[in-house]
């Protein structure tokens, strides 16, 4: 394992300290906790997200005016615990309740649910919005459901602006579910990530092999294949995503998300191919974003996320609104 770290069991602690010391103008740590919150809290419903670490800049990079009120950091690829989530809820709630934005992994769901129960015992209303945008694993009776991946960032952005505009908790939950159902993501991996405490790559791929549909913790995808040109990869992902929408999608937003070890050059080349394909299919792309937002440590690969914006000009406005965060 070749990493710029000190003690593998202390990476989250030191990273957290690095984040708040570097961006103390924007965020602060809640004392003795794994919670990073906005310096200034606003008079609105609070938005809290979180999950395992290793997905940086998610979620701490999206804390700030117009996005999240706080992020809770678990160990690497491990959900934060209920007490930490409760701390985030307590320290951001200002009477209007707290929306917990959770990626659909059993560990995250259970820990956030438990925190929600604990918050209720303290008369704080918390609601959970589950994001499950990854269509690589189809939802079915036989799995824990679709996983939550990079689309989560767009949920933060859209709901963040609505919350700032004064929408209440019920409204945010309802819109949130609507946003989630308009999201589709799939990832591709070229090379696995190494969890510091594990010390070796989470999965192996041959030198000329890629895997479609890998999750952000290296969960297995739906097919391994020889590496193909970007155009071919783009076509596979775009087709799968569009097929899952049905036919009425006219306007979309597109997010190309780097997994941590793939340079921007490749992300932009891939986006160029995606835009060509959507053009050919007559689908208008009205919002685009490229970069490392929801990574998997140093995994090589990227994910494609689309959001159906047909007749959703308000959402577009939210996506384009100004925010004050480290990483949007």
């Amino acid at each position: 394992m070749k990493k710029i770290i000190n003690d593998p069991s202390n990476v989250v602690e030191e990273m957290l300290s690095g984040i708040v010391r570097s961006y103390g103008n924007l965020v602060e740590r809640v004392d003795d906790s794994r919670v990073i919150k906005e310096n200034k809290l606003f008079n609105q419903v609070s938005l809290v997200s979180g999950g395992g670490s290793g997905h940086e800049p998610a979620h701490a990079g999206f804390v700030g005016d117009g996005m999240l009120s706080a992020a809770v950091l678990g160990d690497v690829f491990t959900s934060p615990t209920p007490d930490q989530i409760l701390t985030a809820i307590q320290s951001t709630n200002n009477g209007q309740g707290v929306l917990l934005i959770v990626k659909n992994y059993t560990g995250d769901i259970l820990n956030f649910e438990m925190a929600k129960d604990m918050a209720e015992m303290e008369d704080i209303r918390a609601e959970i919005l589950v994001v499950d945008d990854d269509i690589a694993v189809e939802n079915s009776l036989y799995t824990a459901g679709k996983r939550g991946v990079a689309g989560t960032i767009l949920v933060h952005k859209i709901l963040g602006n609505y919350a700032r505009q004064g929408k209440n908790l019920d409204q945010l939950l309802e819109i949130g579910n609507d946003v989630v159902s308009s999201l589709r993501s799939i990832g591709i991996a070229l090379k696995g990530a190494t969890v510091p405490e594990v010390g070796k790559e989470g999965f192996d791929l041959a030198d000329d092999e890629i895997e479609y549909g890998v999750g952000i913790h290296g969960e297995p995808g739906y097919r391994k294949e020889k590496l193909q040109p970007s155009k071919v990869l783009a076509s596979e992902l775009v087709d799968k995503i569009l097929a899952s929408y049905g036919s009425e999608t006219k306007e979309v937003g597109v997010l190309v998300n780097g997994m941590g070890g793939t340079p921007l050059m490749e992300q932009f080349i891939f986006m160029n191919d995606v835009l060509d394909l959507l053009d050919q299919k007559g689908i208008k792309v009205i919002f685009t974003k490229v970069g490392n937002f929801m990574t998997s440590i140093e995994m090589q690969g990227l994910s494609l996320t689309t959001i159906d914006l047909t007749d959703k000009s308000e959402w577009l406005g939210n996506l384009e609104s100004q925010v004050t965060t480290i990483s949007w």
Partner: protein
């Protein structure tokens, strides 16, 4: 049967030791069908339990379970944390005011409350290839007064041939077949060590 707070703490110490000794094995089980952290997760929880017991020196069964529940809830983070945590939280409630568990019937009620906690929190059924596949037969066998090593072992091994319908292992589909469930294995340790005190 004469399970007082002394036996309960001895039992949980044994369990902690078993987890520590098998930490790498549990993570190894979690690798092909999960994310390879179950051993580390459980170990974090049990280490905290040991520290907390030392600090607080509880002298009732219920308080002991509560300390374990809190340790698991606050230190594990994985799916197993809230599940085991809820189990022991329920067992905390089920043992309030009880100084000694002296019959299979009494014991089964306590463990069943734990199992109900897991079922409710995790929404899994028997046969979904989870820790419940051990808890459910264990509860029955205690009720039936034929609780023994073999039952535990068989219940754990039965998870091997299953496809998972809940948790991270559900993402690997058919590829889960042939692998014993890590959570079922850690639960088997819990009940094996309990056998010593019955």
């Amino acid at each position: 049967m004469n399970i007082t707070v002394v036996e309960v703490q001895a039992w949980l110490d044994d369990f902690a030791k078993k987890i520590e000794d098998n930490k790498d094995y549990l993570s190894l089980l979690d690798t092909p069908i999960g994310d390879g952290d179950h051993g580390n997760n459980m170990s974090r929880g049990m280490t905290e339990y040991k520290k907390s017991i030392e600090d607080k020196q509880p002298n009732t069964i219920s308080d002991t379970f509560k300390i374990l529940a809190m340790a698991l809830i606050s230190k594990v983070g994985g799916a197993s944390g809230p599940l085991y945590g809820t189990a022991f939280m329920n067992m905390t409630k089920a043992t309030v005011g009880i100084d000694v568990i002296s019959s299979y019937e009494e014991l089964s009620k306590v463990i069943e409350q734990g199992q109900i906690g897991i079922s409710t929190r995790g929404k899994a059924d028997f046969g979904d290839k989870t820790m419940l596949d051990v808890w459910i037969p264990v509860v029955s066998s205690i009720k039936d007064e034929n609780f023994n090593d073999e039952i535990i072992e068989n219940a754990k091994n039965a998870t091997k041939d299953l496809v998972a319908k809940k948790g991270r292992a559900s993402y690997v589909g058919e590829r889960a077949i042939g692998h014993i469930d890590p959570g079922a294995t850690s639960s088997s340790y819990l009940f094996e060590t309990l056998l010593n005190y019955i």
